[in-house]
């Protein structure tokens, strides 16, 4: 471990970890206060009023409404400070900033498969640059797992059939634990790895040294072709028998029941594995299901491809309305799917 060892606190290496620790220390303080107070008073009473004579019958003491109110209201107020502070930190942990670099994570009994938008794949290791906001888009192929980085004070379950997200900004270079924190079967305790936070330049080097791999969007485009999506949605997603996919990510889609829905990751995933569930207005239920034919990783790649389609579309309006997925600041733009599209 490269960070200095502070007693009883794990390395603190993200913008969030200090905030969590501060809250934690507050809670520890309150706990020590109440524990000492109660055990102190207890000890004092127990000694002072110990039984001195087997026949003594102390005088009954009536209750006191004042005291009761006091020791209901004060703990309640203290508890509310914990609640408010906790909720505030939670919001920061849970709401990804809009300009984060996306990284895809797929959990699988018992490993973590990670893919960067620039194509680099890793297993049980995650390389990230220090000082940049990273957003993980995560799912699992089988059971529930949980992506846990103690040094960053974050964790989130990955749930089959759903996408969950985590975000962080590493502050200190180093190698940190990565754990699976949701029990997932035989080798749960082996589903561990490390997060390597690198200085941005080192990180770029690392990316460069691993750039031979296809970016997920490119891989997604290939899937798109081999699975036959092209036949209905057109080679560049311009549409045909099926609706156009260009620029759809993040926009509102009108369904045949008149509702409209935000075309986010979950919606697009559902449109592929269970197309009948929500139909785009004006189209029949002709799209076959691809459940079982594509793995979660491939789904993420197709997703990346569909997302990438909007970068090149000339409809900035659509993008502005969406939770912007900014182009990755990584240098490997040569591998950008748009280029491959042309």
């Amino acid at each position: 471990m490269q960070t200095p060892w502070i007693p009883f606190i794990p390395p603190s290496a993200s913008t969030l970890s200090g905030k969590v620790d501060a809250l934690y220390f507050y809670l520890v303080g309150v706990t020590i206060f109440f524990t000492l107070m109660i055990s102190g008073v207890l000890t004092f009473f127990v000694i002072k009023y110990r039984r001195r004579n087997p026949y003594e019958i102390p005088r009954p003491v009536a209750g006191s409404l004042k005291l009761e109110t006091m020791w209901s209201v004060i703990p309640f107020i203290i508890a509310m400070t914990m609640f408010a502070w906790g909720a505030q930190v939670f919001f920061q942990q849970w709401r990804p900033p809009t300009n984060a670099v996306e990284i895809y994570v797929v959990g699988k009994q018992w490993m973590w498969k990670i893919q960067h938008t620039t194509g680099q794949r890793e297993i049980n290791e995650l390389h990230v640059p220090v000082g940049r906001k990273i957003k993980l888009i995560m799912t699992t192929e089988d059971v529930i797992h949980d992506f846990f980085i103690p040094a960053f004070r974050i964790k989130a379950d990955v749930v089959p059939g759903r996408y969950t997200t985590l975000w962080f900004e590493a502050t200190k270079p180093g190698r940190y634990h990565l754990f699976c924190a949701e029990y997932c079967g035989t080798n749960h305790s082996g589903m561990i790895g490390s997060v390597v936070a690198l200085e941005p330049t080192e990180f770029d080097n690392w990316l460069g040294g691993n750039s031979s791999q296809q970016s997920p969007a490119v891989a997604g485009k290939q899937m798109y072709e081999t699975l036959g999506c092209v036949s209905c949605h057109g080679a560049a997603g311009e549409g045909g028998r099926g609706p156009a996919l260009e620029g759809i990510f993040g926009k509102q889609v009108v369904l045949n029941n008149g509702q409209s829905i935000n075309a986010d990751e979950a919606y697009i995933r559902e449109s592929i594995v269970n197309p009948q569930a929500k139909l785009v207005t004006g189209f029949g239920p002709i799209m076959p299901t691809f459940q079982g034919q594509v793995s979660e990783e491939q789904l993420l790649q197709i997703l990346a491809f569909i997302k990438s389609l909007q970068i090149e579309t000339s409809q900035p309006a659509g993008r502005a309305a969406s939770p912007v997925t900014a182009p990755s600041p990584a240098p490997a733009s040569a591998a950008s799917p748009a280029a491959a599209n042309r």
Binding site: M1, F8, P10, L23, Y24, L27, V30, T31, F34, T35, I38, L42, F45, Y49, R50, R51, P54, I57, P58, P60, V61, G63, L67, E68, W71, S72, F76, A79, F83, G86, A87, V89, F90, F91, Q92, Q93, Q109, V143, I144, D146, F148, P150, K155, D157, V159, P160, G161, R162, T164, H177, F179, A181, E182, Y183, G185, T186, N187, H188, S189, G190
Partner: protein
């Protein structure tokens, strides 16, 4: 002080009223059924304890070298299942509660004695099925049975174990039902609601949770079993279901269930604190109503187990807020217990040591519950050893301390014999020390990031695990001592008088052990709860009151 009680000829009590195995297995006497339960839950506690020791031994070293990972997973799962469903949930209600609820309210029995016996058989059947599942190959899902692991991926005996828990649930429901009806309809003349001992209030609240929560876990487990067998599912995402729905349904019961475990213990502690300081409880009605408040609010907070489960952020906030609200009634209790001691006449008998231990450890356990309810901190510590420490502080340091305290306190009534007090105090202290050594280091390991349910772990956590295992060994010895001397005392202990502690409760105003119908005449209550008086004034309200149980 026995001079106050004129020795009377020894006479028949519930133990020697009838002989033979059949008279026990077909008994409808709530006191005998309580003893049947006492035997069975002790058995399950020791099984669960052996599993606990296996966990601790495995975790002594960071490599998973003692057990294979599959075995380890089964061990902690079975530890959790047995301790929760077959030990702690029935522990106080089915033993002390069964024995004392009718006696404390001046009834001859529970309202439905046959259903009471039935509930024991159901418990044994559920336990039997579960033991079968363990012997046949065990189960490795964690006691929480999260889907889709439990429905699709685990290849262990999930259905059989689920069936055992399902069956066992009915025993809990029937016990709760019996208590509610008994407390409503069978109170002796003069025993108004606000003269009820707090033990009764706690059991009333517990029973509410039992009847309102248990059916939901029953249906959930049943659906789970079918889904596993038939590959269908409302919980399995592969066929369109939502695994988080399972978690909602599971915790709808299992969070309130933690109050099934702690409320009776709180009831015992209220008795102990009041009686061993010879004081009326401070703020009786606050303590009584806080039990009800815990039972009701306890149903509103289950989502605090789902903060990182992909549950909505807003639901998380609601549940967090409500979790803090539910802490207030617990706080009220702690403060009232403390205040009760003020100007009391405090003795240090074994039960009182357990009660004092309870207050301290429950405070720590409860306060760390607040850490978990704090959203921002929960994200970091959930599913780590911090949680393991939290709930052992409450369930072992809290609930079991209450249980042991109560068991010692009423032992003279139950068995008609005194336990050796010196040994009692010694083992109480030993358990206290061993307990803290076992579980305190886990808080630290948890905040440092050691995940729970890990068969092997990074070496930097070893020091905490070594401490913990050392503590658990002390704890094991600490538990063995009472088991030995209590059994010993049944035969060789000093014969207990009817009211060895000189207390006003109805259960003390009859002989020890009590006769089959508890009192020879229906008592009429004319005093308030915890109204202490000189021993000669706290007269017996059953007709006979003898000092000596017949020696067999």
């Amino acid at each position: 002080m026995e001079e106050f009680i004129p020795p009377l000829p020894s006479r028949i009590n519930y133990i020697n009223a009838e002989y033979g195995l059949k008279s026990w297995l077909l008994t409808r006497d709530h006191k005998r059924i309580a003893l049947l339960y006492l035997g069975s839950i002790t058995f399950f506690f020791f099984i669960g304890g052996v599993y606990a020791m296996l966990i601790r031994l495995e975790l002594l070293t960071p490599q998973g070298d003692l057990l294979q990972s599959t075995t380890y997973n089964k061990v902690f799962t079975q530890h959790g299942i047995i301790m929760v469903f077959f030990f702690l949930i029935p522990s106080i209600p089915a033993t002390l509660g069964n024995f004392l609820v009718p006696m404390m309210i001046g009834a001859k029995d529970l309202a439905f004695p046959r259903i009471n016996l039935l509930s024991w058989y159901i418990y044994m059947l559920g336990g039997g099925v579960t033991i079968y599942a363990l012997l046949a190959g065990g189960v490795d899902t964690g006691w929480t049975f999260y889907t889709p692991f439990s429905t699709t991926f685990s290849n262990s005996y999930v259905v059989a174990t689920g069936l055992g828990i399902f069956i066992n649930g009915f025993s809990s429901i029937l016990t709760g039902l019996n208590f509610i009806v008994t407390i409503h309809t069978m109170r002796a003349p003069g025993m108004t609601w606000f003269r009820l001992p707090l033990f009764i209030w706690a059991h009333y609240a517990t029973s509410l949770v039992m009847i309102l929560g248990t059916p939901v876990i029953a249906i959930t487990i049943l659906l789970l079993a079918f889904e596993r067998l038939a590959h269908i599912g409302i919980f399995d995402p592969a066929v369109g279901g939502d695994p988080v729905l399972f978690q909602h349904l599971f915790w709808f019961y299992s969070h309130p269930a933690v109050y099934i475990m702690i409320l009776p213990s709180m009831g015992v502690v209220s008795e102990l604190i009041a009686n061993f300081s010879r004081k009326n409880i401070f703020g009786y009605s606050f303590v009584a109503f806080s039990s009800l408040a815990i039972a009701v609010f306890g149903f509103l907070v289950w989502g605090h187990h789902l903060f990182v489960s992909s549950q909505s952020l807003y639901a998380g906030m609601i549940f967090s807020f409500l979790s803090f609200a539910v802490a207030v009634p617990s706080a009220i209790k702690v403060f009232n217990w403390t205040a009760t001691l003020y100007k009391g006449s405090i003795s240090f008998d074994t039960p009182m040591l357990y009660a004092l231990g309870f207050i301290g450890l429950f405070t720590i356990g409860g306060m760390t519950g607040l850490f978990l309810a704090t959203l921002g901190v929960n994200v970091h510590v959930t599913d780590t050893y911090f949680i393991v420490a939290h709930f052992h502080y409450i369930m072992v340091g809290g609930a079991i301390f209450g249980y042991l305290g109560g068991l010692h306190y009423w032992w003279p009534k139950i068995s008609g014999r005194m336990y050796p007090d010196g040994w009692g105090r010694f083992s109480a202290l030993l358990i206290f020390a061993g307990f803290n050594l076992t579980f305190f280091p886990q808080f630290v390991a948890g905040y440092l990031g050691m995940p729970r349910r890990y068969h092997a772990y990074p070496p930097e956590f070893q020091v905490f695990n070594v401490l913990s295992t050392a503590g658990a060994s002390i704890l094991a010895v600490g538990y063995l001592i009472p088991a030995v001397y209590l059994v010993w005392s049944m035969r060789y202990g000093k014969v207990a008088p009817g009211n060895p502690w000189h207390l006003p409760g109805l259960e003390w105003r009859t002989q020890s052990p009590p006769p089959t119908e508890n009192f020879d005449y229906t008592p009429v209550v004319t005093w308030e709860a915890y109204e202490f008086a000189p021993p000669e004034e706290m007269e017996v309200v059953g007709k006979y009151h003898d000092q000596t149980a017949e020696k067999v």
